[in-house]
């Protein structure tokens, strides 16, 4: 196996990594290499056996494995080199990669450019600090998804789900279909964490109780989980005395947020944005470290797989151009600043010379608002929710109107939604 003269190395082969690698190849990079720690291409798509993938990208309703398969076939057809069961343990600022697997042992690679596509991980119980005992039967929704959909095991039959992220809601439906009883989905916020379509299709359609402004205040059971206490919370998200109810259950799933996986990025000296948890990138998805690009959920957590692949394609295309030392035309840098009710914006910097699509997430749910981009852009929106990402297309002619080298994105509310 030839592991020298690599143009673009892509770390990870989920919907981001494969899209980036394919695009890099299509942009003319000769030697593209994917490093994947699992046994097969596809990352977490394998365990996402539900549909809803590719509605925009392929304009077809696919399952996760189907979506992944289409990319995997293309990876094969294009002759992209793949190293499976290969764990990258280090990336240095000068783009040297150290990896380990059970065939080549320890590998050192020096590609011309790198695309980070490691995706994200789930927040755990430890990070949430859920009080109580430490029995078996507490899993993140994604771990349970792997057990049910890949390994063929059902963790338990009386289930409570904490958090209303998409994987949690999808697992509520999945476990119901497997014959388990999902007794409640508790969400600490006054609105769900995931997509509205999942609330309808996974919870309402299956009569699964959704308890908004509720959280788990205690875990019971020494050996296996026996029950959880759930309480209503006030505006400061603190449990309200007297509202506690104990729900008997053998399984608790957590779907309380995803964290971009950037330990390797930090080793490489990549600057991360505390608001996204991912690298600070420009519109080419290049990080502060020259030649290191990033795309997909490693940059920020997307709602839809389609956007993950699209964003990663940008990183793949420009990683290929970087590899052949093409001028990127990065004159006139504009910084994007989150304003009122905006939690984050990606990319964090753009150039005035090109059209660009911005992704942004709000902090709070609001209705009847205007999304404003400084004085060059305004759009009325009926509702904005943290669980649903905003996508804003700006043309270079709009950007040329900018007098400053910064633009603030904000939500100007006419009627702020009252909590509770």
């Amino acid at each position: 196996m030839k592991l020298s003269d690599i143009d673009v190395a892509v770390i990870g082969s989920g919907p981001a990594g494969m899209a980036a690698a394919i695009r890099a190849k299509e942009e003319g990079a000769e030697h593209v290499l994917i490093l994947e720690r699992q046994e097969q291409l596809g990352g977490l798509l394998h365990q996402c056996v539900h549909n809803g993938f590719g509605l925009f990208y392929f304009e077809q309703d696919l399952t996760g494995p189907e979506y992944g398969h289409r990319f995997a076939e293309k990876v094969k057809d294009l002759g992209i080199q793949v190293l499976l069961e290969t764990m990258v343990t280090q990336i240095s600022p000068d783009r040297q990669i150290t990896a380990v697997n059970n065939r080549e042992g320890i590998l050192r690679l020096k590609p011309k450019s790198i695309v980070l596509a490691m995706g994200c991980r789930e927040r755990s119980r430890g990070q949430l600090n859920v009080p109580g005992t430490r029995p078996a039967g507490i899993f993140t929704a994604g771990t349970a998804q792997r057990f049910v959909n890949v390994e063929g095991w059902i963790p338990g039959k009386k289930v409570v789900i904490l958090g209303s992220g998409d994987i949690g809601m999808i697992m509520a439906r999945r476990l119901t279909l497997e014959g388990a009883e999902v007794r409640a989905v508790a969400e600490i916020l006054p609105y769900i964490g995931g997509l509205t379509r999942n609330e309808v299709q996974c919870l309402h359609d299956f009569h699964i109780p959704l308890l908004l402004e509720h959280t788990v205040t205690e875990i019971h059971g020494q050996q296996r989980l026996e029950a959880v206490t759930i309480a209503k919370v006030n505006k400061d998200k603190k449990p309200i005395n007297g509202t506690e109810q104990m729900i008997e259950c053998d399984t608790l799933l957590l779907s309380v947020g995803l964290i971009p996986e950037n330990e390797l990025s930090r080793m490489a000296g990549v600057e991360t944005d505390p608001l996204t948890g991912g690298p600070v990138v420009d519109q080419w998805r290049e990080t502060n470290v020259s030649g290191i690009f990033a795309g997909g959920n490693v940059v920020h957590v997307h709602d839809l797989v389609d956007d993950v692949s699209w964003e990663a394609e940008i990183s793949g295309a420009w990683a290929a151009r970087f590899a052949r030392k093409e001028e990127m035309g990065k004159e006139k840098r504009i910084i994007l600043k989150p304003g009122r009710n905006i939690r984050y914006i990606v990319p964090q910097t753009i150039s005035a010379q090109h059209d660009v699509t911005l992704y942004a997430r709000v902090k709070d749910m609001e209705e009847n608002v205007t999304l404003k981009g400084g004085d060059i852009f305004a759009k009325s929106l009926r509702v904005v929710k943290p669980g649903e990402m905003l996508k804003i297309d700006l043309s270079h002619s709009q950007l040329r109107q900018l007098k400053d080298d910064a633009v603030e994105l904000s939500i100007e509310g006419e009627k702020r939604r009252q909590n509770g």
């Binding site: 343990t89 380990v100 059970n102 065939r103 755990s124 109580g132 899993f139 095991w153 963790p155």
Partner: protein
């Protein structure tokens, strides 16, 4: 086991029972150790903060305190012991922060008292030096008292090292073996367990939080112990370099401690509130976690709670006020011959080497013949830790067994080879793998590796994945096979 006989029976496979077993394995004669859990060191040992000999102990050392003497006597023994057992030991030093002149006066008094009895390692450092040594620590305060001798260990690995070395030297160890009844006649005890009975001449009761319960089984109520619950939080390895020393701050409220320390594996631990609680109730509460965070922020003011990856509670057994907080139990029963109890409370790990010697001496006084076994070897080789090896050795390992090149736990870079080796060494559960290899101990807390570890456990143990538990007994992880529940509905 239906019925067994031995000279000495040790009850409890925590760090103290293990240390006694290893000490006794120097001599001829049969020794059995029984542990009620499925693995070793799962009681107070695993909730220990890993610090060997805390400042509070050296500084407040008084020759009249039994526990202080054990801690002090253990200090020179710990490093060579860790070397013999091939387990981590790292000298980090301690900084006891001094916030005001009142505290300074108190520390001066303690320091001069310690010097009078020959402890001369402490040194006052000013705020500027402190800042140079620990730039992220609070700028409030006037300096610190520095003790370079404080070290950190891995209590569970130390315990397993002791157990394995004792095993190599002839001690029989039995897990999932819980003592339920003890009867006695003039010459021997008959100890009944859930797995049969053991006849023995001597008992070493090192049952941790159950030490007084075991003593009551032979009507030896020489001591009263109170369970005190402590809370420990673990911070992400990203913050591993934030501090280099163990840092200690005098508590604002009685019954609270406030410690932040590096661990031998590169995380930071912070430990806080101590409160009386129901024995065995290792649950954490929102309140204790909040106080924990508030306290550690007095040391590192801008610490984000997002960096906490895990927290847990554990128990220490304390003597009653009349006897004194600084006392411990290492004694032969006044009422029952040949029955020795050992319980240090805090810090049990630091005191273990000397306490084990003392127990051996007590056994001799009670009539046990100690005849040196020429075949005793103090050395035990730990299984390889892939992540900690230099690259050349990593390569050799993979060449020998390719499973060392297959990373299963990505947060801690733990390979399949290490997991298989841990199973060979006796791990049978998910937590067993976690404490022996660190798989599942990292920032994702097993989110990624749990299904993989379960699979390897099932394969190596020749069991169905359904049978794999988190921590033994009724803690099965997967209750049903796919479609089981649907078929049950039809």
């Amino acid at each position: 086991m239906a019925q067994m006989e031995t000279e000495v029976l040790i009850i409890g496979g925590g760090v103290l029972g293990a240390a006694v077993a290893r000490e006794l394995s120097r001599y001829k004669g049969d020794v059995i150790l029984v542990e009620k859990e499925v693995d070793f060191g799962w009681g107070s040992t695993k909730t220990n903060m890993c610090i060997v000999c805390q400042g509070g102990d050296t500084l407040e050392f008084r020759s009249e305190y039994h526990r202080s003497k054990l801690v002090w006597d253990s200090m020179p023994l710990m490093e060579p012991l860790c070397q013999e057992l091939d387990v981590p030991f790292k000298k980090v030093g301690e900084l006891a922060l001094i916030r005001n002149n009142e505290e300074l006066a108190k520390f001066q008094k303690l320091k001069s008292r310690a010097e009078k009895i020959g402890i001369k390692t402490h040194e006052f450092i000013d705020q500027e030096t402190l800042r140079r040594m620990e730039p992220h620590v609070t700028r409030e305060g006037i300096g610190a008292l520095y003790d370079p001798n404080i070290a950190i260990v891995d209590p569970v690995r130390l315990t397993i090292g002791l157990i394995e070395n004792a095993g190599q030297n002839g001690v029989k160890v039995m897990r999932e073996t819980e003592v339920v009844r003890i009867s006695q006649d003039a010459n021997q005890f008959k100890v009944e367990t859930n797995r049969g009975s053991v006849k023995c001449r001597f008992i070493v009761n090192a049952a941790g939080t159950s030490v007084d319960k075991i003593a009551r089984l032979v009507n030896s109520d020489d001591f009263v112990l109170y369970p005190i619950r402590g809370y420990v939080g673990i911070l992400d390895k990203n913050l591993g370099g934030l501090i280099k020393h163990e840092i200690h701050m005098r508590p604002d409220a009685p019954g609270q401690t406030n410690i932040l320390t590096p661990s031998v594996h590169g995380n930071l631990f912070f430990g806080t509130t101590m409160q009386p609680a129901l024995r065995g109730d290792c649950s954490t509460t929102g309140r204790i976690a909040e106080i924990g965070l508030q306290n550690v922020r007095k040391i590192i003011p801008d610490l984000s709670e997002k960096e906490i990856i895990h927290s847990f509670a554990g128990f220490l057994m304390f003597r009653n006020w009349e006897v004194g907080w600084h006392e411990c139990v290492v004694q032969a029963s006044q009422k029952v011959p040949r029955f020795i109890s050992i319980c240090i409370g805090y810090p049990g790990v630091s005191a273990a080497p000397a306490a084990a010697r003392e127990v051996t001496e007590l056994l001799r006084q009670e009539g046990l013949k100690l005849e040196t076994d020429e075949r005793f070897s103090p050395f035990r080789k730990a299984p390889p830790v892939f992540n900690e090896l230099p690259e050349e050795q990593q390569k050799e390992l993979i060449a020998k067994d390719s499973r060392y090149g297959h990373v299963v736990c990505r947060c801690e870079t733990v390979s399949e080879g290490e997991i298989v080796e841990a199973i060979r060494h006796g791990a049978t559960t998910l937590d067993g793998i976690k404490f022996r290899t660190r798989a599942g101990m990292g920032r994702c807390q097993g989110g990624f590796c749990t299904p993989r570890v379960v699979k390897i456990l099932a394969r190596e143990l020749g069991l169905s994945e359904e049978k794999i538990t988190k921590k033994g007994r009724e803690s099965r992880l997967l209750l049903y096979k796919s479609k089981d529940l649907l078929e049950a509905q039809i």
